[in-house]
């Protein structure tokens, strides 16, 4: 599904990714974890083509992404901060993204799912953070793409919406899709992900299931397992 | 009435008994103008019929009236002067005169009047000429409704359209002069009237005065000449209601004044000239009711100009209103309308409450480094002009209009 070879990226003097190799197979939910500044967002943005790598190759569904924009038809992306042009209405934004990508009807169900009906005629500038995140989710899920990338999907969501999000993710997984998630909420990660990818200092430190991680670090629960990686490496 | 009756009798007698009419045409017994003049007696009338007559050096030495019918062509074949008048009371009317000879030693003219009185030269068309109408030591003549079209390119090998030399009391009216060196040129000629002429596209000046006094020119149009009118070394010239426009170029002026005293410049209009009026060494001149619009410089004053008064003129949208190159000012600017004035009129008396300074610092800079003209209307220039306005350093302190008008004036 996604193959990354020898990925290097430097921002100024700061080496963020240094020779990262990663293969993500089709199907399943992958969580990309790591301490702050470990390169999670950079990795995701590299896959999306928003960050241009200094070195290395990325292929998505067999297509090399360099100087290519068409492959993004096959990716749904949920950005971290949901901020939209404040003069547009929710309805118009959805219409516009559809206009830019492809026609779909899936947004009707999603709007219903997140109870966005009353906000459709409001301007985006007037919405609360949580509502914006819901709009964000609608935009991300309304296209039926084989690869879904979610950057901090839980931000600002109320408990009910969170449950609905989880259901939604599981449903998409059941369709055989590949889902890439970053999150700081460990419980959420533990609950949804099949496999985790742990980044440290610009490289993959660990890739495998949560069970494997617990075994490797000799820790009874997931949070401690993560913590032990960090303390070991910073000691 | 008492005087007229004997006069009429005399006229009647002369015309019926003495004066005859001689016809000239290609098939007539007399087929040349020269031949006709030879045969004619004093006060005869010669009628030249339509056709082409290849003649030059035609001497009119007796009082005759020569009238062309249907514009007969007198072709000088570039051999020299065409008509020379040396007698009084000669009238030349309705001829089409072409191909005057060019010479560097003699000023050949299409029509020359020498030492004569009471001549009338009218309705002529002159083309391909060197000098057009040349009046020499003559007086009391009339040059009326002629059309002079030259093909001058350079000053040194071209002549003037109408030239007066040591002549007095000449009336020059309704003439149309184009493409010669000076449209109309007066040298040592006094008490002449120049009225309703159009002088345009001339290489040097539309109208040129040298050492001529007490002349008046009015209601003329000077368009697109090297310079509109040059008035030099002359006294008491009256310049009324003329139009000076589109005199464009490095040494181009609507009007050039040099060593002129006691003149009146009233009611003229200066439009689109590089310099409206260029003034050098001229004193006691009254400038009144003139319109200066869209000129590069409305008025450029260069040294030694004293007690001139500029009142009630309109200065409209000129790049520079006044350029002045000395720190001393002895001229008066009063009650003019300046479109660049930014003051206010709180007491509503039609006069601005703040004096206007027509000389900008930038005009000094341009005078010194001409290329800086390219910065005209730049914000930086506006800023330095403003600071100069607030505290004058380079411009004469007392050069200001204390009563600038708020509205454009009409007369």
């Amino acid at each position: 599904m996604v193959t990354i070879e020898n990925l290097h990226k430097k921002f100024g003097k700061n080496q963020v990714l240094s020779g990262l190799n990663l293969t993500i197979n089709e199907g399943g939910i992958f969580a990309v974890l790591g301490p702050n500044g470990s390169g999670k967002t950079t990795l995701i943005k590299s896959v999306l083509g928003m960050v241009i790598p200094d070195q290395g190759n990325i292929t998505v569904l067999g297509e090399n992404i360099k100087k290519n924009s068409e492959y993004r038809h096959k990716i749904d992306y949920l950005p971290q901060i949901a901020n939209f042009p404040s003069n547009l209405k929710v309805k118009e934004l959805i219409k516009m993204i559809k206009d830019l990508r492809a026609f779909t009807n899936a947004e009707v169900q999603l709007i219903d799912l997140f109870k966005l009906e009353p906000f459709l005629d409001k301007k985006l500038g007037t919405l609360s953070g949580g509502t914006k995140q819901k709009v964000n989710l609608v935009l991300a899920f309304m296209f039926d793409s084989p690869l879904i990338i979610l950057d901090e999907p839980t931000t600002g969501l109320d408990p009910i919406s969170l449950i609905r999000l989880k259901d939604l993710i599981q449903k998409e997984k059941a369709k055989g899709k590949t889902i890439l998630i970053t999150s700081h909420i460990m419980s959420f990660v533990e609950e949804v992900s099949d496999e985790i990818v742990f980044l440290l200092e610009g490289k993959i430190y660990f890739k495998g299931s949560i069970q494997e991680l617990k075994t490797k670090t000799n820790q009874p629960d997931f949070e401690h397992a993560i913590a032990s990686i960090l303390t070991d490496n910073h000691a | 009435m008492k005087n007229i009756i004997p006069f009429l009798i005399v006229v009647f007698m002369t015309s019926s008994t003495i004066a005859q009419t001689i016809n000239v045409c290609k098939t007539c017994p007399i087929s040349t103008l020269k031949g006709a003049i030879n045969q004619a007696k004093d006060f005869d009338t010669i009628i030249v019929k339509k056709g082409s007559y290849k003649e030059h050096n035609i001497l009119i030495n007796k009082p005759l009236t020569i009238i062309g019918k249907g514009y007969p062509v007198i072709d000088g074949e570039l051999k020299g002067e065409i008509i020379t008048i040396t007698a009084n009371n000669v009238t030349v009317d309705g001829l089409f005169i072409i191909n005057v000879g060019t010479s560097y030693t003699e000023d050949y003219a299409a029509v020359r009047v020498r030492r004569s009185k009471n001549f009338v030269i009218q309705n002529l068309v002159l083309e391909k000429l060197f000098f057009g109408i040349y009046i020499e030591k003559s007086r009391d003549g009339k040059i009326f409704h002629n059309k002079i079209i030259g093909d001058a390119v350079e000053e040194y090998n071209s002549g003037n359209g109408i030239q007066l030399w040591y002549s007095k009391n000449i009336e020059i009216e309704h003439n149309f002069v184009q493409h010669v060196r000076d449209g109309i040129y007066l040298e040592f000629s006094d008490f002449c009237t120049i009225k309703n002429n159009v002088s345009s596209l001339n290489v040097r000046y539309g109208l040129h005065f040298m050492f001529s006094n007490d002349d008046i020119y009015q209601d003329n149009t000077f368009d697109n000449n090297g310079a509109g009118v040059a008035v030099m070394f002359s006294k008491r010239i009256k310049m009324h209601n003329n139009i000076f426009k589109k005199n464009w170029g490095t040494a181009s002026y609507g009007m050039l004044l040099k060593e002129i005293n006691d003149a009146e410049i009233i009611g003229n209009s200066f439009e689109d000239n590089t310099i409206g009026i260029n003034i050098e060494g001229s004193n006691r001149i009254i400038y009144k009711h003139n319109n200066f619009s869209n000129n590069g410089w409305a008025i450029k004053i260069k040294g030694a100009c004293y007690t001139n008064t500029f009142t009630k003129n309109n200065f409209l949208y000129n790049s520079f209103d006044i350029a002045y190159n000395s720190k001393v000012n002895d001229n008066t600017f009063d009650k003019n309308y300046w479109s660049n004035y930014t003051g206010y009129d709180l007491d509503k008396d039609g006069t601005g409450d703040v004096p206007y300074r027509p000389v900008k610092l930038f005009s000094y800079i341009v005078n010194r480094t001409p290329e800086t003209i390219i910065l005209l209307r730049s914000m930086f220039i506006d800023i330095i002009d403003f600071s100069e306005k607030v505290s004058p350093v380079f411009t004469p302190d007392n050069l200001l209009d204390n009563e600038p008008q708020i509205k454009k004036m009409t007369w």
């Binding site: - | 869209n294 409209l316 480094t369 800086t372």
Partner: protein, 260 residues
């Protein structure tokens, strides 16, 4: 690109600032024409406004729009769209909506005043064309500055500096250079100096109409050829187009290299 242009344009057309800008020009036009009642004077005042304010507004607005729509840009970047079309679309959206405010804001009062029967129509059209060019140029420069500076404050600072430099400081330096080297032939230098600054270039273009009488007073042969024939007009327009194309090309180049 056209879709992005459409949405950016609609977005801006609905924003308060476009109305403020439009209303400002409308008011200016009305005041100049109907209170003053003098077309020639109005055109001269407008010229001053256009060569000073249009670049300022273009710069500020361009920088502001870029920073404000950063997240939206990121949203677009994740869509299957070419990077260059996203940025060109946004750029054109801003530049065109600003130009439209300018043209309509000034145009309406002039049309009401009976411009079409007036001889000033060419001067006025030239003013609007120049204003549009300045908008295109300075919005492009603003996008360049914003794309090269992640820090908003820095970006705004540079934008204002750029404007101040080109509108005022440049002419000061230019003037001093000309005076310092006044013993040398300067006409080529002064024309080149003009070409290097889009504000000066636009000013010259307008001078060609308003002050041609004064410009022809200068002796230099190059000057004469430039101002006396249509050569100057053509060269000025070509240079203005270059001034639009270069920053736009840099937007395209930068957009391909930039990380988000």
């Amino acid at each position: 690109m056209l879709k992005i242009l459409k949405y950016s344009f609609y977005d801006l057309m609905r924003s308060r600032w476009s109305y403020v800008y439009f209303a400002f020009y409308l008011l200016l036009g009305v005041v100049l024409l109907f209170l003053n009642n003098d077309l020639s004077k109005a055109v001269i005042t407008l010229m001053n406004v256009i060569i000073v304010l249009v670049p300022l507004i273009g710069t500020i607005f361009g920088v502001m729009y870029y920073y404000n729509s950063k997240e939206f840009t990121e949203l677009l970047l994740a869509q299957p769209l070419k990077r260059s079309s996203i940025f060109l679309g946004q750029y054109l959206g801003v530049a065109l909506s600003l130009s439209m405010s300018l043209i309509l804001g000034l145009g309406l009062p002039f049309v009401c005043y009976g411009l079409f029967e007036s001889s000033a129509i060419w001067d006025f059209s030239l003013l609007l064309i120049t204003g549009t060019f300045l908008t295109l140029i300075f919005t492009a420069l603003a996008f360049n500055i914003a794309m090269s500076n992640e820090n908003k404050i820095k970006g705004f600072g540079y934008a204002i500096l750029l404007w101040l430099f080109l509108a005022v400081i440049y002419d000061g330096l230019f003037l001093m250079t000309l005076i310092m080297f006044e013993d040398y032939p300067l006409d080529k230098l002064s024309l080149i100096g003009t070409m290097l600054n889009p504000i000066d270039l636009s000013r010259t273009l307008i001078l060609l109409k308003l002050d041609i009488s004064a410009l022809l007073g200068y002796t230099g042969a190059v000057f004469k050829q430039f101002f006396g024939t249509s050569f100057g007009l053509i060269v000025s327009f070509v240079t203005l187009i270059i001034w639009v194309v270069l920053p736009v090309l840099r937007i395209v180049y930068k957009s391909k290299k930039k990380d988000f």
